[in-house]
């Protein structure tokens, strides 16, 4: 491989508010090994500039490019496309260095050190780029445009509705046989048995009534909901007529609520060994406390909780609730609410905020907790997705994927995670439907690129990678050595980090490449 690097420095952007000396930076870059050309341009994102710098790369024979733009997100994608299409440069050999966010903005007040840091940063990036390998991505066509939605509740129906509107073939799997109006196919009295394959090309086995069916689909939305049965715990044991929120709602709506104060606790089992998301006091508890109070303002309404979680703008209702005179009492596990043994309509709890013991007489006791759906275990097993410690379906990172599961192509929405109000469930259903549509729309699954790779001669088949990977990408193949299912590999590199025999490397983040970068940094000035 020739390893010739073209460095493109965008003058306007790298200069920022004049902090860096771009000419000095360009000179330092041109002295680095493997660099064959340094181009400084005024606007790297202008179409005229794009063609000239790609041309320069071609004439100088560069096979890899380092772009120093304003920030990675600001680079025009057409620049990269031009490099790949016209410059015949592998997409994995185009790297960017974000000097704006790494150097200029945070070190604006110290231009001398900023300059030094920028030069080292560039040197390290060049050293790393020289060590990279060209990689290929592969495509696999999706065999169907089917979307399977597990659970036809509020969230599930919404997801199906949205996806069907975008032209996906939706198949709803519903445990009960209640009559429903749903787009696409509705399989009543059915459940998931197992899954094979990966995002884009799943193969499901479904138990529909008496018979088992296999079904291919491109994406799956899990909307299994919560367990809307009655909760159990010391409080419901002591107070037999304690009711879950939805029954409290019914009696408020029908006007059949018995007289006397209303107390809503978060969970009937306040001493439970773990704090579950299902046990938080949530939107509906607050809403119901409000509507109860509004219906009869003279009635005392108290909300007793360890944690309270309401979503979005519902937070604004806290103030309104306080103004209405709803009492909030926060407690902790050490002093949970208990019901008086002699007076079964009296509840005692230590208020954390006031640090005093409060004793309340109530007419009605209700609890907010909606246990996790016990079917989640079966569903998670069938789909091979992780389940949270509290029994809900685990979603991906909150900011980067609130309705995705760690497994690509499988989405989750609604109370399957923890209790949601109808409006939130609907919004999440919509989001999941849109994301599933986006996932299926290209009609192909892309895989490969910067993924894990096994050196079979070094592998001891110790199964450490198999047990560590959250995506089940590594397996021990027929040759008795670990192999990677590229379609499942997300390129996180956990396997490479833990392999005791150093038999796995992650493309473009190999041990060698990382240590080259470290060395380059530590050679430079600080």
């Amino acid at each position: 491989m020739k390893r010739k690097i073209q460095v493109v420095i965008c003058r306007v952007c790298s200069q920022g508010v004049p902090v860096l000396d771009v000419d000095k930076l360009a000179k330092a870059a041109s002295e680095a090994p493997y660099v064959c050309s340094v181009v400084t341009v005024d606007y790297a994102c202008q179409s005229k500039t794009i063609s000239s710098i790609v041309e320069d790369a071609k004439t100088k024979g560069a096979d890899r490019v380092l772009v120093v733009p304003c920030s990675k997100n600001d680079v025009s994608p057409s620049l990269f496309q031009a490099y790949v299409r016209r410059g015949k440069i592998n997409e994995f050999l185009i790297e960017t260095v974000d000097l704006t966010n790494e150097v200029i903005l945070p070190h604006r007040e110290d231009p001398a050190r900023a300059q030094e840091k920028a030069e080292t940063r560039l040197a390290a990036a060049v050293a790393r780029l020289a060590a990279l390998e060209p990689l290929e991505k592969h495509e696999e066509p999706m065999r169907t445009k089917n979307l399977v939605v597990v659970g036809a509740g509020v969230a599930g129906l919404e997801a199906a509705q949205v996806a069907a509107g975008h032209g996906l073939h939706t198949i709803l799997i519903e445990k009960t046989d209640r009559p429903l109006k749903a787009p696409g196919v509705l399989l009543s009295k059915s459940r998931l048995v197992r899954t094979k394959g990966h995002g884009g090309n799943f193969e499901l086995v479904i138990q529909a009534g008496e018979k088992q069916e296999t079904l291919e689909c491109a994406a799956i939305v899990v909307a299994s909901g919560g367990d809307w049965s009655e909760g159990k715990g010391p409080l419901t044991k002591a107070c037999k007529d304690a009711m879950p929120l939805f029954r409290l709602k019914d009696s408020v709506d029908n006007g059949t609520l018995p007289s006397g104060p209303v107390v809503i606790v978060d969970t009937p089992d306040p001493k439970g060994s773990t704090m579950k998301a299902q046990d938080f006091a949530w939107d509906d508890a607050l809403d119901l406390a409000m509507s109860t109070k509004k219906a009869s303002p003279e009635r005392d309404v108290t909300l007793i909780f360890q944690e309270m979680r309401v979503s979005g703008l519902s937070e604004l209702t806290y103030r309104e609730a306080a103004q209405l005179g709803i009492r909030f009492i926060r407690y902790d596990k050490k002093n949970p609410p208990t019901i008086d043994k002699k007076d079964l309509k009296r509840l005692t709890v230590r208020d954390l905020a006031q640090d005093e013991v409060v004793s309340l007489r109530f007419g009605t006791l209700s609890y907010a907790s909606v246990p996790a759906n016990p079917d989640n275990i079966e569903i998670a097993d069938a789909l091979r997705i992780p389940i949270a410690l509290d029994g809900g379906i685990r979603r991906g990172s909150m900011q980067r994927g609130p309705v995705t599961t760690p497994r690509p192509g499988i989405f989750v929405c609604g109370s399957a995670m923890f209790p949601k109000t109808e409006s939130v469930a609907r919004a999440e259903g919509k989001a999941a439907g849109v994301l599933a549509t986006q996932f299926v729309a290209p009609g192909t699954v892309e895989y490969g690129g910067a993924v894990a790779k096994v050196t079979p001669e070094k592998c001891s088949a110790c199964l450490t990678c198999v047990r560590t990977c959250p995506y089940e990408a590594p397996f021990i193949g027929a040759a008795g050595k670990a192999e990677i299912r590229e379609q499942l590999c997300q390129g996180c590199g956990m396997c490479a980090g833990i392999c005791p025999s150093k038999a796995i490397e992650i493309h473009n983040y190999t041990d060698e490449q990382l240590s080259i970068e470290t060395e380059a940094y530590l050679r430079g000035g600080f």
Partner: protein
């Protein structure tokens, strides 16, 4: 598999302190799988030792190598040069590998980097439990497939003892009582009558008590006629 654990680093440092050139040799077999002496661990040990030397101001060169199986001479031969070139060999394998190198190069100083601990089973990632003592005369046919020699603190043949409570061992209450487990297993298999079977005193001569053991598989062993070269002359 054989499960080993890395020795504390200061103990290792003391062993190799007087020498200038250290060859650190790992093994890709059992000790790699139990995350104690594979390539990763060897590299990390070398790196940590270099840092310690810098901190202590000591001049010492350390080089790490990993063999397929350190207990086999053929693999050790591959790094013979490095071994001969060093002042001391720090073996990051089970004691078998350490002794193999030691026996091959008797004039070389070789020290163990690991404590060879047990014949263990990976219960989950990072957890190994002892399930065999290598007594040389397996009796688990009568104990529901659970070895009381290894899993009972007293290696009782006819248990449980009076110290078994709630299914736990009196020696360490975190550990399951082997005989409780045997009882449960036999119950599951409908073979509880085996609990009443009295196992006669065991012949321990097949264990280490009978002296160092050597296993010979005659059909695999090469005859002098089959051997070529040096070994015949020896």
């Amino acid at each position: 598999m054989i499960v080993a654990e890395r020795k504390p680093l200061d103990e290792i440092a003391k062993m190799i302190a007087p020498y200038e050139k250290v060859a650190v040799i790992g093994c890709r077999s059992c000790v790699a799988i139990c995350l104690a002496g594979g390539e990763k661990e060897v590299n990390m040990l070398v790196s940590a030792m270099r840092l310690k030397n810098r901190k202590d101001g000591r001049k010492q060169s350390l080089d790490g190598f990993v063999l397929e199986r350190q207990c086999e001479k053929e693999w050790v031969k591959e790094v013979e040069e490095k071994i001969l070139d060093s002042d001391i060999v720090l073996s990051m394998s089970c004691s078998l590998g350490t002794q193999t190198i030691g026996d091959m190069y008797p004039h070389k100083i070789i020290v163990p980097g690991l404590n060879t601990a047990i014949f263990g089973v990976p219960e989950e990632q990072g957890v190994w439990s002892e399930k065999c003592l290598g007594c040389g005369d397996c009796i688990i046919d009568t104990t529901g497939g659970i070895c009381p020699i290894a899993r009972c603190a007293k290696s009782m043949l006819n248990g449980p003892c009076g110290g078994s409570s709630d299914g736990h061992c009196e020696v360490n209450t975190d550990i399951e009582c082997a005989w409780y487990a045997i009882h449960e297993r036999l119950k599951l298999q409908n073979r509880l009558e085996l609990m009443e079977y009295v196992r006669p005193p065991k012949n321990w001569s097949t264990s280490h008590s009978g002296g160092r053991r050597i296993i010979v598989k005659e059909d695999a062993k090469l005859t002098p006629h089959q051997k070529r070269g040096r070994e015949v002359l020896e």
